[in-house]
């Protein structure tokens, strides 16, 4: 984590290092703890977790019911739980209903199933606009919804975290659960895009 030329260091870099080094001295931080945290979010916890949950819900109607009834418990069945996922709610997209998730006050996000949020989710533009004009924002993501669809925005103002279950794409009847998980993108579980359509060349 070092190796930068000191002359190129920005103020924010120096500030982060100052805290890091002081916390080492106070015994409040260790290099292996830094590694553990960074590794967890760079390599272990990410949208593949959520994709597995969604794929399971697509293939297993009983799991889907459990996920809708108590998402925290159903997600824990697949081994996913923890910080920022203590109180999960799954909301299901259908031909009649489209769900999309935001946190206007900060950038709350369901870490155990989606990892850390992408930049656009944290940016002021998304946070400010999606509650006022969700259809316009979704359109910018390429997601144009028919007029009849009921658009439901979920602004995560408490410790409840929302996972969107996107619609299962047509033509995926013969795919395995693992193949299906490959269609479930991060954006589809935030609700700004549909799941991927399988490639049929």
């Amino acid at each position: 984590m070092s190796g930068h030329h000191p002359e190129q260091m920005s103020e924010v870099e120096a500030r982060a290092r100052a805290l890091e080094s002081l916390l080492y001295e106070k015994g409040m931080l260790t290099p292996s703890a830094v590694d553990a945290i960074v590794d967890a979010f760079e390599h272990e916890i990410g949208p593949l977790n959520g994709a597995k949950v969604v794929a399971r819900a697509w293939v297993d109607p009983e799991y889907r019911e459990r996920l809708r009834a108590n998402a925290t418990a159903a997600i824990a069945e697949l081994g996913f739980a923890g910080t920022q996922g203590e109180h999960m709610v799954a909301v299901e997209n259908t031909p009649e209903v489209h769900n999309v998730v935001v946190c206007t006050l900060c950038s709350c996000y369901p870490w155990p199933v989606l990892g850390l949020p992408p930049k656009w989710y944290k940016d002021l533009a998304y946070r400010s606009r999606v509650v006022l004009e969700p259809r316009a924002v979704l359109k910018e993501f390429g997601t144009e919804l028919p007029d009849e669809v009921d658009v439901r925005v979920w602004d995560s103002s408490a410790e409840i975290r929302y996972l969107v279950i996107p619609e299962r794409p047509a033509g995926t009847e013969d795919m395995t659960e693992e193949q299906l998980a490959g269609l479930v993108t991060r954006d589809s579980m935030i609700g700004v895009a549909p799941a991927l359509v399988p490639d049929r060349r």
Partner: protein, 240 residues
């Protein structure tokens, strides 16, 4: 707090720009800031609500013009000093030292028995639920019509400005949860019944709602809500 972080429905922030194949962190200092925050929060330095409150109080112009991980860094700078873990002067001097060429200590020189790494790994995997068994009877039932409090708050709150004084319907009850308004200011957990409230977009935005507008949901604590009667609904909430 009625501050600039409360951006729901505020116009003028430009288009949403999404970056393909974005890395989780885009700089080492982001990794460091995040790790410092998670390790500190896991060790009980502050509650998540205090962290959010610290971010909200960094100053509006600074808040709006800096990134997510810089917000975390600012909050940690404030909280670690406030809690007496770091001295502000020592911090400022250390920043200056890094700007003048100091390096981080080598891994080997920092005492590290791996214990903290295990602790944070466990904490991340376990989390810390905010639900509390209080035996409280919720005042509202699913289907009840409510109006949110119309007042701004000078202190931390999770009722966004765009939903102040608006009518909605209770669609879910989540038990009692720690009240951020209280815990953020070290006034205890004071758990309160938490509900999901559905707001028809037209009740939030009037004619400015989109064509074929749907609804927006918020998770709101009982003290944010006032019962809505069939008429005179706002007589009780237009004066405190």
């Amino acid at each position: 707090m009625n501050g600039a972080h409360d951006v729901g429905g505020v116009l003028g922030f430009g288009p949403v720009v999404s970056e393909p194949d974005e890395p989780v962190f885009s700089a080492d200092w982001e990794r460091q800031a995040f790790a410092i925050a998670i390790a500190s929060l896991c060790q009980g330095v502050a509650a998540a609500d205090e962290n959010r409150n610290a971010i909200e109080r960094m100053g509006n112009v600074a808040y709006l013009s800096t990134s997510y991980y810089e917000h975390w860094l600012v909050a940690m700078e404030k909280l670690l000093v406030q809690k007496g873990i770091i001295d502000e002067q020592e911090r400022v001097e250390r920043v200056r030292a890094f700007l003048s060429g100091r390096s981080l200590p080598s891994r080997e020189s920092v005492p590290d028995d791996g214990e903290l790494a295990r602790t944070v790994r466990d904490a991340i995997a376990t989390g810390g639920p905010s639900v509390r068994e209080t035996g409280a009877t919720p005042k509202f039932a699913i289907g009840d019509e409510v109006v949110t409090t119309p007042w701004i708050s000078r202190t931390h709150t999770r009722l966004p400005g765009y939903a102040r004084g608006k009518r909605g319907t209770i669609i879910a009850y989540h038990g009692s949860h720690v009240l951020p308004d209280s815990r953020a200011h070290l006034r205890g957990e004071n758990p309160e019944p938490l509900y999901t409230v559905r707001f028809d977009a037209h009740d939030l935005w009037g004619d400015e709602a989109e064509a074929q507008a749907g609804c927006v949901h918020l998770d709101l604590w009982e003290s944010y809500l006032i019962e809505r009667t069939s008429d005179g609904e706002n007589m009780e909430n237009s004066r405190s």
